[in-house]
């Protein structure tokens, strides 16, 4: 049985007290927004800066990272790679873009998946950090406190096999075991490819940066490094991405073509 408030003064003050509580709660919420822990990488994120619709920008936004540089491929690999890139660009300008893994509804794998073309969710459960990309429902699991298997023992996968450790407040992730045909920007690699990531929070911990370094002495003259950044998107609910009916395929010449008859996709 609830107690009935009998005091007229209390009744008079109640709306004021509630308002005060509301203000205090708002203040706490505002404070909480910038009170993420130094290692609190869990949550939903969007690529920063993003060309897609997102949660907007703010005055605290850090400078955008530099574009990903061309890969420092050895000359015998750079020439064919450059020629293939130029040919693909020319075909695209002509309206006949070559089919890619995307066309076939195959996700990027590592490291391309960390570009976070669509929103990204990070789940930190201590010994394991799980990263889910909305694009193609891609998932990678990073085992904290473990090293990845050496390349010769690392089962080739799209996301590879990742181990990590905390260095102060930076999560240092190492990945081995990338499938041969999983090539970010079509860059070839050997079974000995290694991807290192240094993941840390910045700008009031509202942003996260990922400094990536790809090493592969068989193909690269030096480590290939770049940075991707992400912005928190609190409250965003990740959506599923299952290629249910793909009307795009490759024709005999390898160009992406659309089937427009819905009865026989």
């Amino acid at each position: 049985m609830p107690r009935i408030v009998k005091s007229p003064l209390l009744l008079l003050l109640t709306p004021l007290l509630l308002t005060e509580c509301h203000v205090v709660a708002q203040g706490a919420a505002a404070q909480a927004k910038t009170a993420y822990g130094a290692r609190e990488i869990g949550g939903t994120w969007e690529r920063y800066p993003t060309p897609f619709a997102g949660s907007g920008r703010d005055a605290n936004a850090p400078p955008a990272p530099a574009p990903v540089p061309d890969p420092p491929l050895k000359p015998e690999h750079y020439g064919p790679w450059r020629a293939a890139q130029d040919e693909a660009a020319a075909l695209t300008r002509a309206g006949q873009p070559p089919a890619t893994n995307y066309t076939h509804c195959i996700g990027e794998g590592m490291p391309g998946m960390m570009a976070a073309m669509f929103p990204m969710e990070v789940l930190d459960t201590g010994r394991q950090i799980t990263i889910i990309q909305e694009a193609y429902n891609q998932v990678r699991r990073i085992y904290v406190g473990e090293a990845p298997p050496p390349p010769e023992d690392s089962e080739p996968r799209f996301a590879g096999n990742s181990g990590a450790r905390w260095e102060d407040d930076t999560l240092v992730v190492e990945t081995t075991g990338i499938k041969e045909h999983v090539g970010y920007r079509n860059v070839p690699h050997s079974p000995n490819i290694r991807i290192a990531e240094r993941i840390s929070l910045l700008a009031d911990r509202e942003y996260m940066q990922n400094e990536l370094t790809v090493t592969d002495p068989e193909y690269l003259t030096k480590p290939w490094t770049w940075t991707w950044m992400y912005k928190r998107w609190p409250g965003y609910k990740m959506q599923e991405y299952i290629c249910e009916q793909n009307l795009w395929s490759a024709d005999d010449a390898g160009a992406a073509t659309l089937t427009i008859d819905l009865e026989t996709p």
């Binding site: 897609f52 066309t103 509804c105 959506q239 599923e240 991405y241 795009w248």
Partner: protein
């Protein structure tokens, strides 16, 4: 910045976005500059990945009616700009701004849609904005 300069700056940014690859495939098979208005009846509405599709029996003004396949972004992008999975229904009379396929197929990339209730929605950043009016 004058209004004209601002419009030009926005157009340049839009074109950069329009040429960016979508998550699933390049939009290069569609006309980059040409947009047309189609009016017709929805025969099918497929809310699915990797793309949402509208099958439209309709025509450009003064042209013969055809069965068009209209490519939209994916459910994720569309949800983020305010679409709903049940927003378009079979039998709806709609008007759309689209970029037709360069190869003459009866297919096109959606730029904007006007629903029977008058609401207008775009097709997300990667598809680029409508440059023709649906009003």
């Amino acid at each position: 910045m004058t209004k004209t300069a601002l419009r030009f700056a926005l157009l340049v940014v839009s074109l950069l976005f329009a040429t960016a690859a979508s998550a699933h495939h390049s939009f290069a098979p569609y006309e980059a500059q040409k947009q047309i208005k189609l009016v017709g009846t929805v025969e099918k509405f497929l809310w699915q990945n990797p793309h949402v599709y509208i099958q439209l029996r309709g025509a450009e003004e003064g042209q013969e009616e055809r069965l068009w396949l209209i490519e939209c972004a994916n459910p994720g992008i569309l949800n983020r700009i305010g679409w709903k999975f049940n927003m378009v229904k079979q039998g709806d009379e709609i008007a759309i701004a689209v970029a037709p396929m360069r190869n003459g197929q009866a297919a096109a990339l959606l730029k904007a849609i006007k629903l029977p209730d008058g609401r207008i929605f775009g097709n997300g950043g990667p598809a680029g904005p409508a440059t023709i009016s649906l009003e």
